[in-house]
Symmetry: C2
C-alpha cells in the first residue's frame, strides 16, 4: 500500500473507532483513562528503553542539548503523564451536555447536545510526553486520535501509543481509538493534513513553523495556536508603580512563552513619570530595549541620571512585528489610547493585550476596540493560560476566532448535534 493508502486506512479505522466512542458512556472512558495510566506505570521500563534508542540516535545526529532534553523520558516524567491521565477522570464529562432544549411550534422536542468532534489529528514535535497527554484529552472527550509526533521521538511514541491503545482496548473501547503514525516519511504529515472527510480537525502543537505549515497545507480544519506579539499599554492615568510591576511580570516572568509582552506602549504625556521605574525593572533583568525616538531620549536620560547601563537600540518598523521570546522589548510613545489601539490592532497577533490605567472610560474603550483573545486592564498578560482561567486541562491557546479563541480545553474538542423527537410531524 502506498503512503496515501496507509494514511487513509488509519483514518478510516479512526472514524470507525470514533463512532463507537461517540456512543460510549463517561464511566467507560474514565475507566479506560485509569487503565491507561496504570499501563504507563507498568510498562515504564519499556518506555524508557524505547526512549533511550531515540535519545541515542538524536545525540549521534548532533541534536541540540535543549531538544534532547525535551525528548528525554524518565521515571518522573512518565509518572507525571500517568497522573495527568488520572486527573482527567476528575473533570466533568464534556459530552451529552444539553446546551439548549425547547418545544417548537409544532410540538417537536428539540435539544442541542454536545458530542465529540470525531477524529482529531494532533501534530507535534519531538516531545514524546505529548503522546499520552493528547491521547488522554481526546479519549476523555470521546474523540479518536491520530498522533503524529516528530520523527526524533518515533520509537517512544510508538511504544507509548501501543501501551495506551492496548489499555483502552482492555477497557472495552476500540483499540484504534488511539493510533500513532510513526513512519519517518515526512510526507505522511501532509497526507494527513489533506484527509478532508475522514479527519475532523487538525490540532498542531508546536512552534510557529509547524503551525504555519499546517495552516498552509491542510484541507481539514485546523485549530490554530499562533504566536503572541503581546503589548502592555501604559495610559497617562496609570499608577507608575503598578505599570512597572505589570510590565516587568509580562516581559520577564518567562521569556519563551506566547503570553509574554513584546512591546511597551506609553502615553507620551506620562513618559517622564512612567518610564523610569519601568527602565529600572527591565534593566535589573538585563532586558534590551528597542525604543522609538522619544522613548530612546527618555532611556538615555534615565541612564545618565541613574548610572545604570541599558542595552539600548533605536527601534525599527520590524521591532513592532517581532515576537522576541527573549530578554528584549520594543518601546514606543503614543499620543493616547487611540494610537495605542491602532498600533495593537495593526501589529498584534490577537493573543493577549493589556492596558494599565485608572480611567474607567479609557479601559472600556480599550476593551471594546482591541481585537485579541484576552484583553487585560491592570493585570499582566502572563495570566493567559487554561489553568489560570480555570479551564482544566489546557490543550493550547487559539489565536483564531472560529470555534475557540484563547486558552482552550476539552470543550474545544466537542461539537453538538440536534436531537428532535416528534410524534409523526411532517412539514407543510
Amino acid at each position: 500500500m502506498d503512503l496515501e493508502g496507509m494514511m487513509r486506512a488509519i483514518a478510516s479505522e479512526a472514524q470507525r473507532a470514533a463512532h463507537a466512542l461517540a456512543a460510549s458512556d463517561a464511566a467507560m472512558r474514565d475507566g479506560a483513562l485509569i487503565q491507561m495510566a496504570a499501563a504507563l506505570k507498568a510498562h515504564e521500563a519499556d518506555i524508557i528503553a524505547a526512549n533511550a534508542v531515540d535519545v541515542e540516535k538524536a545525540t549521534e545526529r548532533g541534536t541540540k542539548a535543549s531538544l534532547v532534553d525535551r525528548l528525554l523520558l524518565d521515571e518522573g516524567r512518565i509518572q507525571e503523564e500517568a497522573s495527568a491521565l488520572e486527573d482527567l477522570t476528575r473533570l466533568p464529562d464534556p459530552l451529552g451536555c444539553v446546551q439548549e432544549e425547547r418545544e417548537l411550534y409544532n410540538g417537536l422536542q428539540l435539544a442541542r447536545v454536545s458530542v465529540p468532534l470525531g477524529v482529531v489529528c494532533v501534530i507535534y514535535e519531538a516531545r514524546p510526553n505529548v503522546t499520552a497527554d493528547a491521547a488522554g484529552i481526546c479519549l476523555k472527550s470521546g474523540n479518536a486520535c491520530i498522533l503524529r509526533g516528530g520523527s526524533l521521538a518515533a520509537h517512544s511514541n510508538e511504544v507509548i501509543a501501543n501501551i495506551l491503545a492496548d489499555a483502552a482496548s482492555q477497557a472495552g473501547l476500540p483499540r484504534t481509538c488511539i493510533q500513532a503514525v510513526t513512519t519517518t516519511d515526512r510526507a505522511a504529515t501532509d497526507v494527513l493534513l489533506k484527509l478532508h472527510g475522514l479527519i475532523d480537525v487538525i490540532v498542531p502543537r508546536g512552534g510557529a513553523g509547524l503551525i504555519a505549515h499546517c495552516v498552509e497545507t491542510a484541507k481539514v480544519p485546523v485549530i490554530e495556536t499562533g504566536t503572541g506579539n503581546c503589548h502592555v499599554y501604559v495610559h497617562e492615568s496609570a499608577d507608575p508603580a503598578m505599570a512597572a510591576s505589570i510590565v516587568e511580570n509580562a516581559k520577564c516572568r518567562r521569556y519563551g512563552v506566547c503570553n509574554a509582552a513584546e512591546t511597551l506602549l506609553v502615553d507620551e504625556s506620562a513618559a517622564d513619570e512612567a518610564l523610569p521605574p519601568i527602565f529600572a525593572a527591565l534593566a535589573s533583568h538585563g532586558v534590551a530595549l528597542h525604543a522609538d525616538p522619544p522613548a530612546f531620549a527618555q532611556a538615555r536620560a534615565w541612564q545618565a541620571t541613574s548610572g545604570v547601563p541599558l542595552k539600548l537600540f533605536a527601534a525599527t518598523e520590524e521591532d513592532w512585528e517581532r515576537e522576541y521570546l527573549a530578554p528584549e522589548m520594543a518601546i514606543r510613545c503614543v499620543s493616547g489610547e487611540d494610537e495605542a489601539i491602532e498600533h495593537i490592532n495593526r501589529y498584534g497577533t490577537g493573543h493577549s493585550e493589556a492596558i494599565v490605567a485608572a480611567d474607567e472610560d479609557v479601559i472600556a474603550r480599550f476593551f471594546a476596540a482591541v481585537d485579541a483573545a484576552a484583553v487585560y486592564a491592570n493585570a499582566s498578560t502572563a495570566f493567559t493560560d487554561g489553568g489560570q482561567f480555570g479551564l482544566g486541562a489546557e490543550i493550547g491557546i487559539s489565536t483564531q476566532k472560529l470555534h475557540v479563541r484563547g486558552p482552550f480545553a476539552l470543550e474545544a474538542l466537542t461539537s453538538y448535534k440536534y436531537l428532535i423527537k416528534g410524534s409523526g410531524q411532517v412539514r407543510a
Copy 2:
C-alpha cells in the same frame, strides 16, 4: 496593481472597517440596516437597470432559463430584500453577550463576551439577492464583509453593494464595511480564499461544486455547508402509516433541497407491512425507486397486487452515495438498527437522519450512534431549517463539526474575547 494586490487592499480596508464595527453599538448597526433598506427602495430603478444588463448578457450567452430566473431582480424581489434588512433590526444584538463571568482565585474579574469574527468573505453564485442578504447579516453581527458573487450578476452586485455601502456610511459606519469584488477575473476568488490573516472566515453559499472548491483552495477557515444524503430508517416497531407519511414528506416535499431524504432503510422483518403504504405514497408522486433485492421483490409484488406501475431499478453501490435532489429514492432492507446505523454513518453526509420507531430504547441508540447535525425520531428530515428551529435569519446549514453544525444564523458569525480586570495582579 496586480490582482493579488487589489484583493489584499480590499481585505485590509475590510479589516480596518471591522475594527470600527467591533466598537460600534447595536443602535448604530440597526440604524444602518434601516437606511440600507430605504436606500434599496429609493434606488430600485438603478438596480433594475443594472440587473437588466446582466440578464441581457446572460440571455445572449445562452444561459439556462432557470439560471436567468435566479438572476432576475424585480420590484417584488427588491422589496423582499429591503424587508429582510428591516427584519434583522428586530433580532437581538448577537454582540456583547456575556457568556461567562467569574472571579479568579487572585481577584481577577474574568468575562467571556461575544464579538464579531471580523472580516467575513461570502462567495456565491449568480443570485444577486444574496448581496443584500449577506451584507445585512454581516453588518448586524458587526462583521465587515467582502462579497464575491457570480460573474453573471456582476453589474447588479456592484450597484447593490454601492447603494448599501453608501447607506452604511451615511449612518456613520465605515463605507468599506461592505465591499463587492466584481472583477470578472475568476482568479480573484482564489486569491481571496488564501488571504489568511486578513479574512477571518469564508462562507460559501451555493452548490456542491462551489463549496468543494472553497474547501480545496482556502487557507482561510471555511464554514462548509455541504450536501445532504439524508436517510429515513423505518424500524420494525414503527407505525406503518406514520412511516409512510414521514417518508413521503421527507422525499417529496421539495426534491432539490439538502434536507430531502435520498435513501429509505427498512427493517426486513417489517418490510411486508411497512413498504406497501410507502410504495403507494411514492408512486403517487412518480418517484423512481432504486431497490436492493428484498425491497425490489416487495416492490414487484406490490405492483402486481395494486396494479400501480412503479419506476423500479436494482440499486447499485452508487445509489447509497447519491444525493438525487430529484424524484428518485434508494431503498434497502436492513436486519435492524445496528445495520441501519452503520449504513447511515458510512454513506450519510452528516446532515439530517430520521428513525421511525415506537421503541424508545431503539430511538435512544439511534440518537447516540448516528453522527449527523440533526437526528430525528418520528418526524420528517424536512424540518432541518433555521426558521423551523427558531434561529432567526438562517445563513446556511453546516455539515462540518467545527464552530457550527446544522442550521446556523447570526451567532455563527461571532467569536468571543476574554476581558480581564485586575488591580495590579502579576503572575507568580
